[in-house]
Subunit: 328 residues, 2 copies
């Protein structure tokens, strides 16, 4: 069995075209009805304001599938430790044998979440995207901007973050130097939304950060923050104003995403014409069909993304010889 | 993080008093309502007649809890490979960090299942157990006999197996030499049940192996085989004839165990006076209260057993220095 360290994984796996292609393909398989995605197994650990989640998806035809064990313990911060940790197991689809343990501590989840943002932008962002906006300045704010840079030419980036001014400064400097584009911090989310043709919101907000009145023709928004029943980044009215609403997985979106809060507000429900990301991937739906449309994509994170990225990571660390083969 | 190989685990962990004590304690915690036992996450892989199950249980107060990933792929036999494989992860209850990977390929499940048999026999077998009977001659038939030898003095063992005469002969020789008791193979399950004061059935039977008319005063039966909706070892009428019926976890027994088939036959239901194993452990119920009672214990396997045995195994391999500390 192979073991790969977080360092080895970070050396081999970055958000690039191959990673996006694997995740895109996985959304296609999900849409074809080929993937088995059991409900998330959740173990609450209330004493530490913590939770361990197990996500998985079996995709026939692939050599392995992933079982991801992801922890989030909020009291860790008081101990000076990161709140997120965890790993992915790769299981052979031929024998059921465990083949690899990827000790990524959430890194691969960051990459596959970024990759989903790239897939969404490929089909939904307007062709010309001079200014793009990012809400938030954390790790996903970085990955989502990298994702946009893979599928569109960027001239200028506006970023807003409600917290952590130091983190915002670091974000501006890092991303400017990494991507060679102008990155400007602005004071309000309104400035970001009104001035951008693509906006990605990457916050754990529990109250909407983006107001419907700021939406303008030609805007695409990817909201990747909400993945629990408490979170919401978009005013419900945003989804009513959109010409096209897309979800990574509708059943999950109506439970955990912006679809949930919009449904609670009576703006849409399961019978509304919400399109799945996989429909765009398979060409069953054209995605954006005019430069004037307002489009929104709600991402909650699906097990097929974990299987796709784990498989890609496994291939890369084995090819590079940086996975350890261990004694069983 | 620590990694322990199957060999290292087998060297350190055997079914002994400490293993039984840990599993017994876990049933007590389950009964106190302290344990969180989420429903099993199941990933069917129909192309290989396979399935991967994830079981877990969080028990506050313990330093770690286990997430067990267990595969059973029946087409493996055609490849000359074992059908069962898998591993256990230990997760810190303080930080959520993964602490150890135990590459046991189902070995620890065998030990913890044996340990539950010992707990059941401790409270339910008559004090004097000159003759005990085992139905089946596989791995659990061995562990269950070891379990009985830990809690009762055995003089004579009768064993019946419907299949695999060679395996039965090996069973007789191995167990006789290991435990120093007389072990006799007999031709029918009826002989086993009628002549024994304790019987453990360890088969994957889908039709009852034990008939109610064979039951006699002073008999205890532990049925550990049924753990799916298709399996059944005891005629439903056995449970009606018993003075005391015990289950490792009633909700699970009514879904997967002998309780399920007895309920389907109309013999008992959720309102019947079925006792949980943890009630015996905590002294909330006395267990067997006369040498004439007929008692039955239905075991389906509970996540708390996995957490208990994984923790015990981790302590032992670390103390012995046979776990590898790997680079994260």
């Amino acid at each position: 069995m192979y073991i790969a360290s977080e360092r080895a994984l970070k050396e081999c796996v970055v958000l690039d075209g191959d990673a996006v292609a694997q995740v895109e393909n996985a959304f296609g398989e999900l849409q074809r009805g080929n993937a088995t995605v059991p409900p998330i197994l959740m173990i609450p650990v209330p004493e530490q304001h913590g939770e361990v989640d197990v996500k998985t998806a079996y995709i026939p035809g692939l050599e392995y599938f992933a079982v991801k064990v992801a922890s989030g313990f909020f009291t860790n911060r008081q101990l000076g430790l990161p709140s997120a940790s965890g790993l992915m197991l790769l299981i052979s689809t031929q024998t059921g044998f465990p083949e690899a343990v990827l000790l990524d501590n959430g890194y691969l989840t960051q990459v596959r979440t970024g990759a989903a943002g790239a897939v969404a932008a490929r089909y939904l962002a307007p062709e010309r995207t001079e200014t793009v906006g990012i809400i938030g300045s954390g790790t996903q704010a970085r990955f989502q901007l990298r994702a946009l840079s893979l599928v569109r030419k960027l001239d200028r980036v506006l970023v807003y973050s409600a917290y952590d001014e130091g983190g915002l400064r670091a974000y501006v400097e890092e991303m400017q130097s990494e991507l060679g584009v102008t990155v400007e911090a602005v004071d309000t989310p309104e400035q970001v939304v009104r001035s951008s043709s693509v906006v990605v919101s990457t916050t754990p907000a529990r109250e909407p950060v983006i107001k419907a009145e700021w939406l303008h023709p030609g805007l695409h928004i990817t909201a990747m923050g909400s993945d629990t029943e408490e979170k919401q980044e978009l005013e419900a009215e945003c989804l009513a104003k959109a010409d096209l609403v897309v979800s990574d997985l509708k059943t999950q979106g109506f439970r955990l995403g912006e679809l949930r809060s919009a449904k609670a507000a009576g703006v849409l429900d399961e019978s509304s014409p919400v399109v799945q990301l996989g429909e765009l991937v398979l060409g069953e739906h054209p995605g954006r069909s005019s430069q004037e449309q307002i489009t929104i994509c709600d991402l909650t994170g699906v097990g097929v993304q974990d299987t796709a990225i784990a498989l890609e990571a496994y291939r890369r660390v084995v090819a590079r010889g940086t996975a350890s083969l261990i004694d069983e």
